[in-house]
Symmetry: C2
Subunit: 185 residues, 2 copies
């Protein structure tokens, strides 16, 4: 039960041993053994990732999305603009760059509205969610291995599209729920 | 741009070759090469996961959460009840089981309110989000390697807690946004 203090040491696990089983460009995977709070041990599979940004991008009465194929899910998902944080990049830089690349968006300012781990049970991937203020649209400037369509949806249609399951990934559901609340849709 | 039809073949990638680089209990990791829509190729790192359930659990004027240590993020996160789908389990069974295990909750019925990939850029993990209707609380029945505290938060406090960053993972942000909208908080 919530004790009202911040001592959570009775919940802590400690990594006893760890093996790096995959060292990729996007993810590193460790197979680790942890000591549990009661002294027992357990196996943990951990995926390390540098994190990503995603963007709530509204211009006029439309919200901007991208449709892209995701080989991991074998599906064409409708997502808010997003991208991995590259080595040496600050999240705001990634956000500004991805907005321009994916939808040609240029914002007067970018404001961080949220941040969240996407799958803390096995991964440290953290997503920074920004809102693009006073955005104008120039032209897309995609990476060489990036293929996606820009999709604009009227704000008034967002609640029905959300209920219909049009948005199939967590960051996009969060962004759409945020816009629905902000604009009282 | 949104063409209004459903032919997305110009976005499709095809897996040309694949190596299973890790075969764990929770995740399987493939290092694959894909053929891009323009005929070029690219490397993809893919994490396969059986998926999970999570639960919006409200009783009276309180919403139920669990505080637990996550070794992947090295943090004590405040999350809605959740759990991995085991082999042979239907998502509703997992949901009913996890509700009981993690917070001692027994619902009159469980209703699926959403589903989403958590990180489609590299993983197929899909989370089913349920709402527990007319829930009563019995006692926790945790797994052997599970250590977590139950935390109850008054519905009226949820908007401020969300703004304060109390909820640090995607499924929990989605669940809290849902409750805020449903109860007009």
């Amino acid at each position: 039960m919530n004790t009202g203090n911040d001592d959570y040491s009775h919940l802590k696990e400690e990594i006893i041993s760890s093996e790096r089983v995959f060292d990729g460009k996007v993810i590193k995977v460790d197979h680790s053994t942890v000591q549990l709070p009661d002294g027992g041990s357990a196996s943990r599979e951990i995926v390390y990732h540098r994190g990503a940004v995603s963007l709530v991008a509204v211009a006029g009465d439309e919200m901007y999305f991208v449709r892209q194929y995701r080989v991991a899910t074998d599906d064409f998902l409708l997502e808010i603009p997003a991208g991995k944080i590259e080595v040496g990049e600050a999240p705001d830089e990634t956000a500004e760059k991805e907005l321009k690349e994916e939808i040609g968006g240029v914002a007067e300012s970018l404001r961080k509205i949220h941040g969240f781990y996407v799958s803390p049970g096995f991964s440290n991937e953290y997503v920074h969610l920004y809102e693009a203020d006073n955005m104008t649209i120039d032209k897309q400037a995609l990476d060489d291995d990036e293929f996606l369509d820009i999709v604009k949806i009227r704000l008034s249609e967002l609640p029905a599209q959300l209920d219909n399951g049009a948005f199939q990934d967590a960051k996009t559901v969060i962004g759409v729920q945020y816009v629905i609340a902000k604009y009282n849709l």
